[in-house]
Symmetry: C2
């Protein structure tokens, strides 16, 4: 079966961040936490919760009331996937510089940095000085019309 590959919206992502942090949450907790932080009413939280379930990002223990909601995907995985998807729609030539920029403005742990450096040192060996732009399919570059 084909994965429907539904994505989280910004608002849904906000909810998920709390769920990820707490592991298991009741709507009660969500409502309490989010109603302060955001300008969301309990209704809105409930709707978001429903949609996240429909999309398969949340499940709950069968309780009829005060059920515990939990994520079906880890925050790390979701983060990686989302970032990958974003990068994939971009021009291969622009991604490098953009990553330089992002990394520059991101706080990283020593561990991450070490990992990145070793990974990059490795890539450096086979890297070329330029990469092809994938902005337009090759065959359609005849614009003479």
């Amino acid at each position: 079966m084909i994965k429907k590959e539904s994505t989280m919206t910004i608002s849904e992502w906000e909810i998920m961040r709390i769920v990820w942090t707490l592991g298991e949450v009741t709507s009660h907790q969500l409502i309490h936490i989010m109603s302060k932080k955001q300008l969301w009413t309990p209704s809105t939280i409930k709707t978001l919760l429903s949609r996240l379930q429909k999309k398969g990002f949340l499940i709950h223990n069968g309780a009829v009331r005060d059920r515990l909601y939990s994520p079906t995907i880890s925050e790390h995985d979701a983060t990686s996937q989302t970032l990958s998807q974003t990068v994939q729609m971009m021009c291969t030539k622009c991604v490098g510089p953009a990553l330089v920029n992002v990394i520059n403005e991101t706080t990283l742990t020593k561990r991450d940095i070490t990992k990145l450096i070793s990974m990059l040192e490795n890539k450096k060996i086979t890297a070329s000085t330029s990469i092809a732009c994938n902005c337009m399919p090759k065959n359609q570059e005849d614009l003479s019309l």
Copy 2:
């Protein structure tokens, strides 16, 4: 005046990639190119073109007909900005690993790699072993209810 900070949608981004590549385009070219690549009709292309103008991402030379559309933002800038925005909605703790992942699966030029490494070497000096998670505002961690 406050920047309206409108964002490009996926479809709009597709159009922009062609515009960025060509620098200046007529709708004619876009229609020709995109109708093959995507399953878009001329109408759809025109709509997207209109919206991109309304959002301020495209302008055109005043021609009444066969006008030339051009971008108001460079592809590099748009790419960087979009990536930054994406990263900003994510948990600071997850961004590092996600970046490791993305960089692993991304083709980079020697130049980019060198830049990244030197930047990282620098960051390494002041980096700590762990960073605070920004998933939930500190004050709202009392979930005792």
